[in-house]
């Protein structure tokens, strides 16, 4: 980390690569297609390397990186004026695994049923195992808002799962 903060490109790359998959998956959840998710990976690598010297608490590198990823994803969505097209590769991705329809629909739910803030909270909570305080820090919203958003998201997903249970059998 110290080498990376002193401008050692190779050291930073090694550091970044440890979280590359997390960055890509986080980005994909927002932008919903491979090309844009790759753009977000590149932007995140660019911005994080440019700002690594300013990171005061290296132990929070991952949290900091995820925060940059979320911001880059939202910037890209804003740039596209919030119009997210259902691109062919996304359709293929969703339809690619017909062995587990229930799980497939859940991923689709995450992508389609939740808005950006709900996705952030759910992923940070259940994928990255962040505490409410950490989520509050990353998203820069009060803890109360984080909790409300999480409960609302779970409610949406539960309703969706119930509907699947009823109509899917």
């Amino acid at each position: 980390m110290k080498k990376a903060q002193k401008g050692d490109k190779k050291a930073y790359l090694t550091l970044f690569q440890q979280y590359e998959d997390d960055v890509y998956r986080m980005a994909y959840m927002y932008v919903k297609n491979q090309n844009d998710a790759l753009d977000v990976v590149q932007d995140t690598a660019y911005k994080s390397y440019s700002q690594i010297k300013k990171l005061k608490s290296p132990e929070y590198f991952k949290t900091w990186l995820i925060k940059i990823t979320i911001n880059c994803s939202i910037d890209l969505l804003k740039k596209r004026q919030n119009v997210v097209h259902l691109k062919p590769e996304y359709i293929e991705f969703v339809q690619s695994d017909d062995q587990d329809i229930s799980l497939q629909l859940t991923l689709q739910d995450l992508l389609e049923k939740l808005d950006e803030s709900e996705k952030s909270v759910v992923i940070l909570k259940y994928y990255h195992h962040y505490t409410f305080q950490e989520i509050s820090d990353v998203l820069e919203v009060p803890i109360g808002t984080v909790k409300t958003t999480l409960y609302r998201s779970l409610d949406k997903l539960r309703k969706q799962l119930t509907a699947e249970d009823i109509y899917g059998q």
Partner: protein
Amino acid sequence: MDNKIIREMNKIEIPKEARQRAILGIDLADREEKKKSPKYWIAGLAASAVILMSAITVQQTNIADADIPMLSKVFGSKEKLLELETDSEQKTMEESFVKLEQNFDLAKQYLTPQAFSDYSTLWKEWLDINTKIKSENRNVPTYEEEKRLDEIQYWIQKYDYKIKMRIHEKE
């Protein structure tokens, strides 16, 4: 819920290109860092063209016969480009124009019409900023100008990468 979310998220496959794109992002940032010197902008078009062309193979062209219709269209005229530098540098500049012309040709072939239009607009803005600096007899850009030039170059290189990848896919 934890396991379910983890399982679902892990179903998102990581494409091979993710590694290359991370490297590209870091390379770009590193380059930006290194070029924060007063001489940076002077490298101007020539350097940008060289950077662009390093990623794309082009055929050699005789400078004397140089014809740059696409550049003339995007920038207004060849003369406007030549005004940027002194006479002693014109040969280098002309070489860069030829390369840049070929670059535009590839961009037109491999980018969507909208992307090509954005790409051209970026280059046009690049020229406008540099022409303004030159016309005011300044040696360095202002902070805002430099910031914008950096952004322009960053986006141009992203388009360049897309062109390169599409050429590679076609091959």
